[in-house]
């Protein structure tokens, strides 16, 4: 309970008028009993002009229906009411007075109306109005910043495609979805052939440019919003395509390989040909029992290793079943070449 030293060295009015919050008190007939300095400043209407008037006649225009209803409800039921800024913006004609120009802008408001009991037992209500203009402005700035940061945190700054962090987060979700809904998912690892030699012959600036071009060519092959392409490391890219079965995956891997091939980026020190090429390893998940999330990635990586071993510039498929057998059984020719 608030209490004042008695006798108080100042009048309560001073506090009401200094507070940076609008305060209006209405009695059961909705007649204005209190109209503080903040309300005076933001309406331009002095208290002595409105005390004793009905609330609907107090302002220069009629307050919104929502607030008039809220006042009636609080007065008849004694229940407090919140009028949020998000849903009402500006229910009362209150203005930010700008000395510099004649224009006045309406204040964004958050309002609470609480019942108070007058001395003789009659129910009054207190309307508290706070200016939310600044907090909304701040909120919008923060949101813009956080969206930009979120974008940056998940993007590879060189190529503009997703980074590994984004991939790792979304891979688990996508795989979980594939497990729950019994749908296939394919994963591709793409590695640029002899990229170290490319950097050695053309320099790092050209190397970066090549990475950007390759990333863009790979990205163009994606068709659906759920397909993800990310830069996995130096010259390595990774793709996950939910709902893609092994037979379409084989065609897709070739599409990827040819997309880079067709860029026709000269590479004199490639031992494949005179242009940049990629090796691709891929695998597929479909209703596989007891799946460890990493094994699909390891399997695609093993397939990539096979593609490199078999001479690069090709795609290799390794099935998850065979990969799991391989990890326990001695290495054999379980993988299968799809192109050379």
């Amino acid at each position: 309970m608030a209490q004042l030293l008695s006798p108080s060295p100042f009048a309560m009015e001073q506090i009401f008028n200094s507070i940076s919050l609008g305060l209006i008190v209405l009695d059961a007939q909705q007649t204005v009993h209190l109209w503080n300095g903040w309300v005076e400043r933001h309406t331009g209407i002095p208290a002595k002009q409105v005390i004793g008037k009905h609330i609907s006649e107090a302002f220069e225009e009629l307050p919104s229906r929502a607030i008039l209803n809220a006042i009636t409800n609080t007065l008849s039921y004694g229940l407090p009411v919140v009028l949020s800024n998000a849903l009402h913006r500006s229910p009362l004609p209150l203005f930010q007075r700008n000395e510099q120009d004649d224009g006045k802008s309406r204040i964004d408001q958050s309002i609470t109306i609480t019942p108070i009991t007058a001395e003789y037992g009659e129910r009054h209500c207190l309307i508290q109005i706070s200016d939310s203009t600044t907090s909304i402005k701040r909120e919008k700035i923060l949101r813009t910043h956080s969206e930009a940061l979120k974008r940056e945190a998940t993007t590879d700054s060189l190529t503009g495609i997703y980074n590994r962090r984004f991939f790792d987060e979304h891979y688990k979700m996508a795989l979980g979805h594939a497990v729950r809904h019994s749908v296939p998912m394919s994963v591709f690892m793409v590695d640029i052939d002899y990229f170290k030699e490319y950097n050695d012959s053309y320099g790092h600036v050209a190397g970066d440019k090549a990475l950007i071009q390759v990333a863009a060519a790979l990205r163009k092959q994606l068709m659906r919003a759920t397909d993800v392409l990310a830069r996995f490391g130096g010259e390595e890219f990774i793709l996950m395509l939910p709902n893609m079965a092994p037979d379409s995956a084989m065609l897709f891997a070739e599409k990827l390989r040819l997309a880079v091939w067709d860029l026709n980026i000269p590479h004199i020190n490639s031992r494949i040909s005179q242009r940049i090429s990629v090796s691709i390893g891929f695998s597929n998940f479909y209703k596989h029992p007891d799946l460890d999330a990493n094994s699909l990635l390891k399997c695609a990586d093993a397939a990539l290793y096979e593609a490199k071993k078999a001479g690069r510039n090709q795609s290799q498929y390794l099935s998850l079943q065979h990969f799991n057998m391989q990890t326990t059984a001695p290495a054999g020719t379980l993988h299968k070449s799809v192109s050379n």
Partner: protein
Amino acid sequence: MNSLTELHLDALSEVFNVGAGRAAASLSDIVGEEVRLSVPSVEIRKSSEIDVSAMGLQSERFGTVHQTFSGSFEAEAILLFTEEHALEIVRDMMGSQISLEDLAEFEQEAMCELGNIILNACLSAMADMLNIPLNCSLPDYTVATTEEIFRRVSDDLDQPYVLLLHIDLAIERRHSEGHLIFLLSSTSLKGLIIQLERFLGAV
């Protein structure tokens, strides 16, 4: 006597549906579209018996609006919307796209207002029909997990009864479900029964 009969529950259901109608009218005013709100069922349970199946809760996390009220009986009211539904409602009302934790200050305020409208409408209907005046705190909004809510309900030894309302809220083509929980002390439950008896005798 510490339990509500079918007749009592029917009467309460009538009271709350009147409240729901009032809340729907206020919400329609704000949203500018037709909002339909109904209370298809009312149950009374012991707090200790409350669990996931009793509430038909499917979500992990909830947006909750809480108010305490006092008067001829004292109770706490908690309005629950599942994470998904809370988001849908706020998005529908304001057209923003954000996750529940990110619900910024002014969206939380909007959730508070939504809860406040529904709670006040139910309470004012009780006040009118059962002739019980009530005082009430301002609403606050929090995000809570299912466990936190159950813990809060079952740990409250002073309020061993739970009045559980299922709420259907439809805004335009979107349909949402919520729950309204009243935590009642045995005295409050007795008080409520007395008022219900009076109401049933009067009609």
